[in-house]
């Protein structure tokens, strides 16, 4: 795997001057993923922060061929591009010969867990050679923090407002990484930008496999989490150290946890700095916090039980 020194010598494929928020967690993810291609790469993004923020007309931050089609069809769009590439290559009509091109689709949790899951499932089943990266910030941040099926339980969003009636979102989040893995694709992983080496290694593996690959990446959001912009990467690390967001991969059906915290931190350490969980620290909600911790412990134990096993 490349060192940071080596990575820094590669061309920067996502320029500055994009309009993503100060302290946004998405660009470090995108920059690392594009570098992992280490050659020609084509990308598409679902509608969302990344798409809107990087391509305000007539500007684009992408220094690679990039297309946006709609909210729900990033995976279908990349399928079409990849199929056209394979066909042209086969016919000998590919401009520039038969160079190896990588295909990446980016989507937020809204565009992946909810709106784009049908297109994603279809593309995974058809077996296109592409990488799908979901940057999971846990709500529809671009349109004003509406809950998604990735939103953590008890999180305050504009459509699950914490107040007298409910204490935030009522449901447990969807386990998309496992849903994707159930398509029996060659590679699926969870990553976080604070651990750039782990993320890079996974992206390199994902680009190398022949067939669909999927990465679900934790993406802190100062706007929707009500956090300080400078704390974004720190919060990504806490999400992993509290085992809210375990780092693992499923390679050819075998699950491997790629990082086990030496000391599993209490979930409250990740929740406390986030305004969206403020209500959980009121004395009357102590039982909710306890319930949340119990569920996290259970999920982590479930993952530990699966570590090293064939699913």
């Amino acid at each position: 795997m490349a060192t940071l020194k080596e990575l820094s010598k590669q061309q920067e494929l996502l320029s500055g001057g994009h309009r993503l928020c100060s302290g946004c967690g998405i660009p470090p993810i995108v920059r690392l993923i594009l570098r992992a291609a280490n050659g020609p790469v084509v990308a598409t993004t679902a509608t969302g922060c990344l798409e809107v923020g990087t391509t305000i007309y007539p500007y684009t931050a992408w220094r690679i061929p990039w297309i946006h089609s709609a909210f729900e069809n990033a995976a279908a769009t990349i399928s079409g591009i990849e199929s056209a590439y394979r066909s042209l290559k086969k016919q000998g009509k590919l401009p520039g010969g038969d160079k190896d091109i990588k295909f990446v689709a980016f989507g937020g949790d809204g565009g992946t867990y909810d709106i784009g899951i049908q297109a994603l499932s279809g593309a995974l089943e058809r077996g296109h050679n592409f990488l799908y990266v979901c940057y999971d910030n846990g709500a529809y941040m671009n349109t004003g923090i509406q809950r998604s099926s990735a939103t953590p339980m008890l999180s305050n969003t504009t459509t699950s407002p914490a107040g007298k009636v409910i204490p935030g979102k009522q449901q447990w989040r969807k386990d998309l990484t496992r849903i994707v893995a159930a398509h029996n694709i060659p590679y699926a992983a969870q990553a976080s930008p604070h651990n750039w080496a782990d993320l890079s290694k996974k992206a390199e593996k994902a680009m190398k496999v022949n067939g669909p690959a999927f990465m679900n990446v934790m993406s802190p959001c100062p706007l929707g989490w009500y956090t300080k912009p400078e704390d974004s990467i720190k919060l990504a690390k806490l999400s992993v150290d509290t085992c809210y967001w375990p780092l693992y991969e499923i390679e050819d059906g075998v699950l491997k946890i790629t990082y086990k915290p030496k000391e599993k931190k209490p979930l409250a350490e990740w929740l406390k700095p986030q305004g969206r969980f403020k209500h959980l620290f009121k004395p009357e909600n102590a039982n909710l916090l306890e319930e949340f911790q119990k569920r996290i412990d259970m999920e982590w134990q479930r993952l530990l039980d699966l570590d090293g096993k064939r699913l």
Partner: protein
């Protein structure tokens, strides 16, 4: 870009044009590097959301203040033993 003769379909024919757009004006705090302390680990470079840490030949050589939004991630992520970046008021 000219108003007349725009390409059809929302096509932007040239990549990376956002580089011509300055987001430096968003900044309230400005990062300042102490190169005597810096170990060129490039953590600031990899974590920067605005591709605004300039690295050359594997070394951190400064900030692109046309694009830096002043989030301060670089200063927080600079390793504890080094702490070579501090954020100062833009007016300073």
């Amino acid at each position: 870009m000219e108003k007349k003769g725009l390409p059809l379909g929302g096509v932007i024919p040239k990549g990376g044009t956002a580089h011509d757009y300055s987001t430096g004006g968003w900044r309230k705090l400005r990062p300042v590097i102490d190169k005597d302390k810096c170990t060129n680990c490039l953590i600031c470079w990899v974590m920067c959301p605005d591709s605004a840490v300039i690295a050359e030949d594997g070394k951190m050589i400064g900030f692109d203040l046309d694009h830096c939004k002043g989030c301060g991630i670089c200063a927080v992520e600079c390793p504890d033993k080094v702490k070579a970046i501090k954020m100062v008021e833009e007016a300073e």
